[in-house]
């Protein structure tokens, strides 16, 4: 399933502070975890990735229950979308041929394993900018479904 150009633009804003999303994961026994995330990108039209700056509970959840929901938090501008699908952590040290739903970890990490170099976070305001962008890997979702979170039509399937 391919994301639309409008969705890709909303998720991947270069400069101007970038996009902010919430990533919801869940333990295997149903305890949700919802965390705001910067440093979001789209990969090959059907995957969303987020820099893993040492997420704690998210990592544990994905290790036991590899599914997530990404909701656009800012700027929204009517783009009230929730993306749901299998989600994992990719980081250096995985077997060289490791794949996740059709994506090779090596290819993803070659491109996005050093976010600070690829997209320096210089536009992030100083009071919320991390002192150094230290990255462990990427959180990586294969989007299977997009639904609306607009209150009037919440849950309506868009893609």
């Amino acid at each position: 399933m391919k994301l639309t150009d409008e969705m890709k633009d909303a998720l991947m804003i270069i400069g101007a502070g970038g996009a902010v999303v919430h990533l919801t994961t869940c333990s295997a026994d149903g305890k949700p975890n919802t965390v705001g995330e910067r440093f979001v990108a789209v990969w090959k039209d059907e995957y969303i990735l987020i820099a893993d700056m040492f997420a704690q509970k998210t990592r544990l959840n994905l290790m036991e229950n590899p599914i997530g929901v990404i909701t656009i938090a800012h700027p929204v501008k009517g783009r009230t979308w929730a993306f749901r699908g299998p989600t994992t952590m990719l980081q250096e040290g995985l077997p060289p041929d490791f794949e996740f739903h059709g994506a090779k970890a090596k290819d993803v990490l070659d491109e996005w394993g050093n976010w600070a170099e690829k997209e320096p976070p210089s536009e992030v305001p100083p009071d919320i900018r991390p002192p150094r962008l230290v990255q462990r890997g990427v959180m990586f979702m294969k989007v299977d479904e997009v639904y609306s979170y607009d209150a009037s039509e919440a849950g309506k399937r868009i893609l």
């Binding site: 902010v20 929901v69 991390p130």
Partner: protein, 136 residues
């Protein structure tokens, strides 16, 4: 007992939250509500639309655990996560917050705040953030 600070209240009431819910087997669904009302020390009430109620009713009935991440600009400027249990009363989602975490990226990500003395939480906030709520 968990107690929200004025800053936490201001961000939740001003910009609402992304509300993570799940089935008891861990299939997640997130809804977004743009404002909230905080009552007492740790009760957060969200007014849902009929569509939102339909989307989360089954999840809440089988698994009342929820997670709240502040909405809008709060997603990055109010780096908290609130976890608790929820119930639906008609179209009002009532969340009793039981745990509060800092979600600033880096060394303080996942730092649990509600286990600190209340004065220390307020002090922590004052040394990490300049604002006391969303911009007017």
């Amino acid at each position: 007992m968990t107690k929200l600070t004025p800053r936490m209240r201001n961000w939740l009431e001003g910009l609402g939250a992304h509300i993570g819910t799940a089935t008891k087997k861990g299939f997640p669904t997130t809804i977004v509500v743009e404002s909230a009302k905080v009552e007492g020390d740790n009760i957060v009430k969200f007014q849902l639309s009929e569509a939102q109620v339909a989307q989360v009713k089954q999840n809440i009935s089988e698994n009342p655990q929820v997670a709240l991440g502040p909405g809008g600009l709060g997603s990055i400027r109010a780096a908290y996560q609130f976890k608790g249990v929820a119930r639906l009363e008609s179209t009002t989602l009532i969340v009793e917050v039981k745990e509060i975490y800092c979600t600033k990226p880096g060394p303080e990500a996942a730092l649990r705040l509600d286990t600190l003395p209340y004065e220390n939480i307020v002090k922590f906030e004052s040394t990490r953030w300049r604002d006391t709520g969303p911009p007017k």
